[in-house]
């Protein structure tokens, strides 16, 4: 049972009730209101009475309240002086003909007083807030764009769209990626591992012109490694982990086993989403959220977490703001958020505005009734089932656009809509986004097909472009793929791979769901199958308390410090050096250097690099020399950045 914070407030009332005395400071604490609350007390009044005629596109009487500047510039309110402010005069005028709002009941005394207080306290405004309508509204339904004609035999639909995009802007196509760099990138992107030296050499020697496609198909068919790489992406997104807050007292449930199976089977994404929204006992952890004991803010009740997470994960929408009040940053309202929350609620759900009850019971509903409605009278399981259906409806283009955009972001370094959880933002290429979305639906929601479509394009198989600054802003123009930083798991897996130091045991919860057959031929386990450790945490494996859709792109000082001297890493390097020495026991220093470069960077060192490495390694190579050389290589930007 949740008793939100009126209890807390009550406690304060009790406290003040007991005061009896009226000491100065107590009075101050009691009387002085903290900073005036524009968002929660003024906006609702303006919305109810003024915006219809003086907000958005409308500015009756040449007066708009869209922004603070507009109000101040029109002199209709004088900050600090409500008595002489025209707005107050207009809403309190005794003459019903003149009084605002026109032809409507007047504002209540309390509302007028709030406006007075607001003006007297200087007309505070929420930074960036405006009643002006947003000028872009993403389409709901899927759309099949017309593909431009292929240029120069580049037939992949992604290339057809992007080649035309670049040509229109007079921009050059990015240069093609060489085989070795492709080999490294495609391995890390699809299965999260480095190519071995042997497979690299074999690939380079292969004269078959279809070898890249063949390799792509092989990697996508490597279910185990595909799963154990993408597991981290999904764990972040579905905030699933082996340990974390909430597990301590049953306030949280893992979906690890379900997720692992779903990825192994390459479950179609529509089915995947349906099983998360309308779950089985194995997948219910996602919609259950995290429940802490005690009172939580109304906006963080499990039902509201459901609304926030379902909308963020599957639609890239931010309903966090709209969990407290109508959102200032997009179109979502408090009522829409509670409607979504009510789908999973076990009983009537009362809306709270900014943690205060509104007295209004909100019926189950979802935000896109044009696709179909949810019967609020239906039992919970039916409502969830219906939401699952509607979410994955063929006509819900937002659902497919959101996931293909996430995959594009992972592979190409930046979303077509960016940030990936701001899907209300205009894409830099709607045709590309829409095409990928339609393609997914038409390929039975097979995510591997989307990955395949992208990575078989010439666009993906291009050199990364060097940018002057991060490609964040709305002015972004695509010029080619962007290098990505390895995730903590990729880094650790790669290190374990080179040094043969991966753990021999998985997390116990993983051991419990892997089949005997899956365990039988395994000698070690990957980063996604073990608990986060200090090193991985330091490198950005998140506490999965919130949905995470983007890992930090830059190395920080504390991370670099851990990479320089963490005992965990030092120990791995020392074991690893011994393994390498044993593996290359009869080899000379040059062979060791070449092997390490090819295994780690998918290329041979230059003569200069070899000379530096030789100095480090010593001749004959010492274990310390190997240790240091491995450290040097894994610390190169070239190693940690997937280019």
């Amino acid at each position: 049972m949740d008793i939100p914070s009126p209890i807390i407030r009550l406690a304060h009332c009790v406290l003040f009730g007991l005061l009896g005395t009226t000491s100065g400071a107590a009075l101050r604490a009691q009387e002085s209101k903290p900073a005036f609350d524009f968002a929660h007390s003024v906006v609702p009044i303006l919305k109810a009475h003024c915006v219809e005629c003086h907000g958005g596109h409308r500015h009756e009487g040449d007066f708009s309240i869209n922004t603070r500047e507009k109000i101040v510039d029109s002199s209709s309110a004088i900050p600090g002086n409500s008595a002489e402010s025209y707005i107050i005069e207009m809403v309190t005028n005794a003459d019903a003909e003149v009084r605002m709002p026109k032809d409507k009941p007047p504002l209540s005394e309390a509302e007028v007083n709030t406006l007075r207080e607001w003006i007297d306290s200087g007309l505070p405004w929420e930074a960036g807030f405006s009643f002006a309508p947003r000028n872009y509204e993403p389409p709901l339904r899927p759309r099949r764009p017309e593909l431009p004609l292929p240029a120069d035999g580049r037939t992949n639909p992604v290339d057809r769209i992007l080649d035309a995009y670049l040509a229109e802007r007079g921009l050059p196509r990015p240069a093609p990626l060489d085989d070795a760099a492709f080999m490294r990138r495609i391995h890390l992107d699809l299965i999260g591992l480095l190519p071995t030296r042997e497979s690299l050499q074999e690939f380079l020697a292969d004269a078959n012109s279809a070898k890249r496609e063949q390799l792509i198909d092989e990697l996508l068919a490597d279910n185990r490694n595909y799963t154990e790489h993408w597991l981290s992406f999904w764990n972040d997104l579905l905030r699933n982990d082996y340990a974390g807050t909430g597990y301590i007292d049953g306030g949280r449930k893992q979906i690890s086993a379900w997720l692992y199976r779903a990825l192994m089977e390459n479950m179609p994404f529509d089915q995947f989403a349906r099983q998360l929204i309308s779950p089985t006992p194995e997948s219910e952890g996602f919609i259950r959220g995290i429940k802490w004991r005690g009172n939580v803010n109304a906006s963080q009740k499990p039902e509201l977490q459901f609304a926030q997470n379902v909308s963020q994960v599957f639609l890239g929408l931010n309903m966090k703001c709209a969990s407290c009040h109508d959102s200032f940053i997009d179109r979502w309202t408090l009522e829409e958020t509670y409607g979504l929350a009510a789908i999973t609620a076990n009983g009537p759900l009362e809306a709270y505005r900014c943690d205060k009850p509104t007295g209004k019971i909100v019926e189950a509903a979802w935000m896109f009734p044009e696709l179909g409605r949810i019967d609020p009278q239906a039992p919970r399981e039916e409502r969830l089932g219906r939401l699952a259906e509607l979410m994955t409806d063929r006509e819900n283009g937002r659902f497919t656009r959101t996931i293909v955009n996430r995959l594009w972001h992972r592979l190409m370094g930046r979303g077509i809509v960016h940030p990936v959880d701001a899907m209300q933002t205009e894409p830099w290429n709607a045709d590309l986004l829409d095409y990928l979305a339609v393609h997914l639906a038409e390929n039975s929601y097979d995510l591997k097909q989307t990955l395949r479509l992208i990575v078989t394009s010439q666009a993906y198989q291009s050199r990364t472009v060097a940018l002057d600054e991060p490609p964040a802003g709305p002015q972004y123009v695509y010029t080619g793929p962007i290098a990505k930083r390895m995730t903590a798991e990729q880094f650790v897996d790669a290190l374990w791979q080179i040094t043969e130091t991966a753990p021999k045991q998985s997390h116990k919860d993983v051991a419990a769901f892997l089949t005997d057959a899956e365990k039988k031929d395994r000698t070690n386990y990957r980063a996604s199958l073990v608990s986060s450790d200090l090193l991985m945490r330091s490198l950005g494996r998140p506490n999965r308390e919130q949905v995470v859709t983007d890992r930090p792109s830059m190395l920080t000082t504390l991370q670099a410090l851990d990479l320089s001297n963490s005992p965990l890493l030092a120990e791995t390097l020392s074991r690893g050096a011994a393994n390498i020495a044993e593996r290359l026991a009869d080899a000379g220093p040059t062979t060791i250097i070449d092997w390490l470069y090819e295994s780690s960077l998918s290329r041979l060192p230059t003569a200069q690099e070899r000379a530096v490495a030789l100095e480090v390694l010593g001749s004959p190579p010492s274990p310390q020399g190997i240790e240091d050389l491995v450290w040097l290589v894994i610390m190169l930007p070239e190693f940690q950045i997937i280019r």
Binding site: A35, E609, P637
Partner: protein, 490 residues
Amino acid sequence: MNSNKRFERTPQCESAATRREFLRAMAAAGAATLMAGEPRPLRADEYGATVKHPMAKADACILLWMAGGMAAPETFDPKRYQPFEIGLSVEKVMSTFPAIDTVVEGIKISQGLENIARVMDRATLIRTHVLPDLGHILHSRHQYHWHTGYVPPQTVAAPHIGAWLARVLGPINPVIPPFINIGQRLEGHGEAEEVKAFTTGGFFGSEYGPFNLPFPEDATMAVRPPKGMNAGRFESRYRAYQKLIKESPQVEYVSDYQQGSMLRAVDAAHRLLGSQEKSAFDLSLEKKDTFQQYDTGRFGRGCLLARRLVEAGARFVEVTTEYVPFLHWDTHENGHTTAERMKGEIDRPIAQLILDLEDRGLLDRTLVILASEFSRDMMIEGVPGSTARDQSRAKTDVLKEPIHYGLHRHFTGSSSVLMFGGGTKRGFLYGETASERPCLVTKNPVSLPDLHATILHLMGISPKTAFEVERRPFYVTEDGKGQPIADLIA
């Protein structure tokens, strides 16, 4: 080796300029941070006015964290003393220690804190810190609330107050991590995950997160080349690294902002590991008698380490008595004995820390705060009328054995906070609590947002400071509503 070598702090006006520059640099880096969806400082408050930071009265901050709920009646707010007596009704127990005088007339504290009593003339003592009971007492959740200013769960990862200082003010000495966390193990106990949840930089990312030193005596390991690597090898490894970077043919395909940030980070880390300042982490460089003065346990040694780090230019240091369920201040039973031991652990080092800082001329510009997530009471869980479940393990109506003797319930109605230096008043008592149960505030309640606002104000940060996270403002005090308490400021 001059272990007392001090980092020269920038004078006040320059430090304001430094912050401006820092903010300007951050603005330049704004685009960079956006890439990772990282937060951007909001420059204007809701009036459209530029957020004005107050003039800092302190440069550095040390938070002495009494983890687990320090009973105010057994420490800084003594009530009627009731000796142990078999058969005595537990209702009679207010304090299990007599009160002692301090050097400030009119301020009495609990027996066992004699050393702190002698430095009370440097302190501001708040007895009326009021915290919500949150409906169910879970220490880590209340600690999350105290450290971040927000009650979990939250829709975004709320930063620790140390991360706020690190992010807004930056380091004092660029070599020393700006947020250092001493004494808390993050693995191996029941609520470790919950403690981890607030021991982070939150949405600011790991750059502003804690540099964790769970064992003060081993702190030097954190800033030393890895075990088994001598300084010479460490240096030549780094020289080889720079050469390899220079030789790498691949630089052109990677953006400068990615590569540059990486190399800068590696360089900064290397500078710390090779710096003079790293000796600040080494307690073995202290004189033996000084070390002994602090050496009451891990907390005491943590205080010594904090002093050394602040001397070297740390911005924010937290030293905790460590939270482990049912240990230390978390006295669900046998409270009297435990409180006696805990006081023995904190009394000498805290007093010595204050004297040492003063002796080095650092106290005026170093804000030291002692606080806890709530207080304790013999009878009341939460506050009167609370729905919080009683968690005492020594339930009884009358005292039968020593295990029953002590304050075993979590009391949120009033707790004590001690502040020293950094622009606070000296020898000053603020607030008053009832002398009989319930020991609620009778004068001058201090809420968490206001306490935080006061700390931030002294550090030169407006309580309205906000960052844009997921396109909405996130304030350093809850919704920007904390207000500094003028009475506490000298």
